[in-house]
């Protein structure tokens, strides 16, 4: 009885003490990293539910009966947790300065040269879906990128040419692994397409220069693509189109998914409807298939494996005008790409990446250069890469890694004499990237790459520094970086002693975004050294050159509801002593002025998205052997007005149609000259034009499974 009384009495005593204890006030202000007041921060005594929120001026007042030392905790989304011990004093006035958390710090992007095209991205103003709906892209990733500033229109081959660089200077990566051959093969003067559907990718990051030293063997630009994560949805769909039939699907499991896609294209029916200028023996055929396995054993671990194969074949009569004999050029090509990656985020903050990729391409061309000859080449590359990333402090994040690219190339050319060449070599590199958050407004990225190239026993070190300063939402960037790239295998096979080609980038830019409007401007200077030079069929590394220019970009989604438009302009002046250009000259693929106007308008009542793109490029330089000097003439300017229409016919049916060059302009990209002088001493010439003035596409994407709607992706 006594004990029970004691318990009761103690309880009453404690309760009374608590009730009448002197109230203590802890006050202060919460500020962000810019010392501006932070509203709605959560301030509380750790281990209790006693707390309050900060007012608009950042001030707070926390009343508590606790008279011992207490730990005050402040939390706010996007910021690191802040704790401070408050001693047992009567009154406290705290000034709490919050720091962005690791996620927010990692969001800092060096703006110059970088277009992040991931969905919802604020940097590029373009999403992955936009790629397909951009008029003139015909659903192709690379053509869509060619609407961005810095790219140049090279209409007869469709590859990426960036800021005065060759197409081979642009490299594509899938899940950080190199792709040796990202483009399909086509006939003469027919633009290529990317081998991979844009809908395979969750993220598209296009850098037109000044990229991190992590990326290997690219002098002009890099295009890192990230495939989608595990699909929780099983789906199946087919895609009949004017050029063929595609289809595939995904099977979802509890911790992974498996996707398969098959595609067959045969241009014979299309050619009969819209004949082009080619004299086909066997019109273009492409069979392609791809599969991806994605497995997430837990939230912090991702395995991905992608394999893609395609076979291309076609044959046509060559243009007899400039040749002595008629050739029946026939091509067969097999291409395989296998990519497997592993990512793991450890609780200690380390992020581990390891991957391997194998690219293989085999090509056979009959009547390649003269009647009766045969050309075979086989090329493969094995890319192995691993890296570790860790944010060491609020100030520093490190990314270090190593990679090796093992390459093989062989070619046989058989006319009257058999020419046979083969090379095996490797490139090994170590890279380190340090991201420094110097002040809340100033960020720097320092990176360096040490590389060994076995073929010429060459060592190199390529440093890069990038700075970004945020002045009230206006980002100023400056980058200086050096990049190396071995000459293409077709040149190395003729001279294994060729040095790595070098390019130094200097870029400065400004970026501003407000209310769905993006403004950006960049100026650059690129200096090339050790370019491949052809001296009477002898290849040397004596070439050099430069490229400079200005890129301007404006994107607006706010003018009218459902309307988005984009303006891009590039000025480029490029000159190089390179390959057959034995004097410093503007290469044939360069144009001084490039401009794009692109518009998209969604009409919900008609369930349609209309796209209009107009691309303009000033004339291309070409060499007229009848005149003095090199690259002594210029074609007429290029212009193409393109249209696309996306129609949501029903929940599971999308119709996509596009047409290029609606005005039917006869765009000339170059002039080809006969090797032989005519009777009057002149050289017969023929304009190099696209094989067809227009390209029409109509495709229907049909979803066959129940849980998916308006989804054109099988992955």
């Amino acid at each position: 009885m006594m004990k029970r009384f004691l318990i009761f009495a103690s309880f009453v005593f404690i309760a009374t003490l608590t009730t009448f204890a002197q109230q203590r006030i802890i006050e202060g202000r919460v500020l962000d990293e810019h010392s501006k007041p932070m509203e709605n921060a959560n301030i509380f005594i750790k281990g209790t539910t006693e707390g309050t929120g900060s007012a608009a001026d950042g001030s707070f007042k926390l009343t508590t009966a606790r008279n011992r030392d207490v730990v005050i905790c402040v939390m706010m989304l996007g910021y690191s947790e802040y704790t401070v011990t408050v001693k047992d004093t009567d009154k406290v006035l705290l000034v709490i300065k919050m720091k962005p958390d690791n996620v927010s710090l990692d969001d800092v992007v060096v703006v110059a040269g970088n277009f992040k095209l991931k969905g919802n991205s604020q940097w590029g103003g373009m999403s992955a879906v936009d790629i397909a709906t951009t008029a003139g892209s015909s659903g192709d990733l690379y053509r869509s990128l060619q609407t961005l500033p810095g790219t140049q229109v090279v209409g007869e081959n469709g590859r990426l040419y960036v800021r005065g660089g060759e197409s081979a200077e642009s490299q594509t990566y899938i899940d950080e692994m190199h792709v040796l051959s990202p483009y399909t093969t086509t006939g003469n003067n027919e633009p290529v397409r990317g081998r991979y559907s844009p809908f395979m990718f969750e993220g598209v990051n296009f850098s037109t220069g000044g990229y991190s030293s992590e990326y290997a063997q690219g002098l002009s630009s890099v295009l890192p693509l990230s495939t989608k994560d595990v699909s929780p949805i099983s789906k199946i769909g087919i895609n009949p189109s004017i050029v063929g039939l595609g289809g595939g699907g995904t099977q979802a499991f509890s911790k992974g998914s498996v996707s398969l896609s098959l595609n067959y294209e045969d241009l014979k029916p299309y050619e009969s409807l819209f004949p082009d200028k080619m004299d086909w023996i066997k019109p273009y055929k492409l069979f392609s298939g791809g599969s991806q396995i994605r497995f997430n054993p837990n939230d912090n671990t991702v395995f991905k494996t992608y394999v893609g194969y395609d076979r291309t074949s076609f044959a046509y009569h060559t243009n007899p005008l400039l040749e002595n004999s008629l050739r029946d050029l026939g091509l067969n090509e097999d291409n395989l790409y296998l990519n497997s990656t592993f990512r793991k985020d450890y609780q200690s903050g380390y992020k581990l990446f390891a991957g391997g990729a194998f690219s293989f391409k085999k090509q056979n061309i009959d009547d390649a250069l003269v009647q009766g000859d045969s050309f075979d080449d086989k090329e493969w590359e094995l890319h192995l890469k691993s890296k570790v990333t860790k944010r060491n402090t609020d100030f520093l994040k490190m990314n270090v890694g190593a990679e090796t690219l093992v390459r093989h190339y062989q070619m046989f050319y058989d006319d009257s004499l058999l020419q046979k060449h083969a090379i095996n070599h490797f490139i090994s590199a170590l890279f380190a990237v340090a991201t420094l958050n110097i002040t809340p407004n100033l960020n720097a990225e320092l990176s360096s790459r040490a590389e060994y190239t076995s073929i010429n026993n060459g060592w190199s070190c390529t440093p890069r520094v990038a700075l970004t300063y945020n002045l009230n939402g206006i980002y100023f960037s400056g980058i200086a970086g050096r990049y190396n790239q071995l000459p293409e295998n077709k040149y190395l096979v003729r001279n294994t002693g060729l040095s790595s080609q070098q390019c130094t980038h200097y870029i400065t830019g400004v970026y501003y975004e407000k209310k769905d409007r993006i403004y950006r401007a960049e100026a650059y200077y690129k200096k090339y050294d050790a370019l491949v030079l052809n001296n009477a069929d002898s290849y040397t590394s004596d070439g050099y050159g430069y490229s400079n220019g200005i890129d301007l970009f404006f994107n607006d989604r706010s003018l009218f509801k459902n309307l988005e438009y984009m303006l891009a302009y590039s000025y480029n002046l490029s000159r190089r002593k390179y390959l057959d250009l034995n004097e410093l000259s503007t290469p044939q693929f360069c144009t001084k002025h490039n401009a794009t106007f692109s518009l998209k308008y969604t009409i919900p009542s008609l369930k349609t998205i209309w796209g209009v793109t107009d691309r303009f490029a000033s004339g291309r330089p070409y060499h007229d052997p009848g005149k003095g000097g090199l690259m002594n003439a210029e074609t007429k300017p290029f212009n193409s007005l393109d249209l696309s229409l996306t129609y949501l016919a029903s929940k599971r049916v999308i119709v996509y149609a596009s047409a290029t060059n609606l005005l039917g302009r006869k765009n000339v990209f170059n002039y080809a000259y006969s090797k032989y002088q005519g009777e009057g001493g002149d050289y017969q010439s023929a304009p190099v034009t696209s094989s067809s003035d227009h390209f029409f596409y109509i495709g229907v994407f049909i979803t066959l499974s129940g849980k998916v709607a308006y989804d054109v992706s099988n992955f």
């Binding site: 004990k3 709605n40 509380f44 539910t49 929120g53 989304l77 999403s127 789906k235 849980k707």
Partner: protein
């Protein structure tokens, strides 16, 4: 003496859990009444404090995720919307490791979060998340076919989708009636998820 200490500790533990339960009840009650961004933030802050104290309890985690989704509809800043939805995702992922979690309610909230992402950028996120929204609601209904929130949200989503396609969703009225009926006899456990009824009532009365 030992007995005294034991009793006192028991009383203190009971008292603190009672305080937590009261705090949660208050937060849940306030969530039902909340309307503005400021109100939701204040409640979310309280829930966050509760969660720090009892990280192994599923309801505080669940309600933070719910408040985050509600905040994503109310905050005008796109950057903040994405922050809230990212935070909701973190809490929803945490719930998979907490025993006693109602899987049906979690899948419903997962679907609702993705719906908010679609609302944020329909052109980009519509094609991307449409299937997952439906899948999450359907999974919620597999765990509990009588979850009125999953039925209501799935019906509304299907109806919106049909409108977008200039069609009609014939089952809409039947599904909404079913949800209304289920709301009326829903789980009356204290603090158990019961949101949605007021919202449905207001939408029906506005017709």
């Amino acid at each position: 003496m030992k007995t005294i200490v034991f009793y006192m500790l028991t009383v203190l533990i009971l008292l603190s859990s009672k305080i937590c339960a009261q705090d949660l009840s208050t937060s849940v009650a306030n969530l039902k009444k909340a309307n503005t961004e400021k109100e939701y933030i204040a409640i979310r802050n309280g829930l966050e404090r509760l969660c720090m104290q009892s990280p192994g309890e599923w309801l505080p985690n669940y309600y933070i995720a719910y408040a985050d989704v509600q905040l994503s509809f109310r905050t005008p800043s796109k950057e903040n919307k994405l922050k809230y939805l990212s935070d909701a995702d973190t809490y929803l992922k945490k719930l998979t490791d907490i025993s006693g979690t109602d899987a049906s309610e979690v899948y419903t909230l997962k679907g609702y979060r993705l719906y908010s992402l679609i609302a944020l950028d329909p052109q980009t996120n519509g094609p991307k998340y449409f299937g997952e929204v439906t899948l999450n609601y359907q999974t919620a209904l597999k765990f509990n076919p009588d979850n009125p929130r999953a039925i209501m949200l799935l019906a509304m989503f299907n109806n919106d989708m049909a409108k977008f396609m200039h069609r009609t969703y014939d089952d809409f009225e039947a599904q909404i009636s079913k949800a209304t009926e289920l709301f009326a006899r829903a789980n009356s456990l204290p603090n158990y998820p019961s949101w949605g009824k007021e919202w449905l009532d207001s939408r029906l009365s506005a017709k």
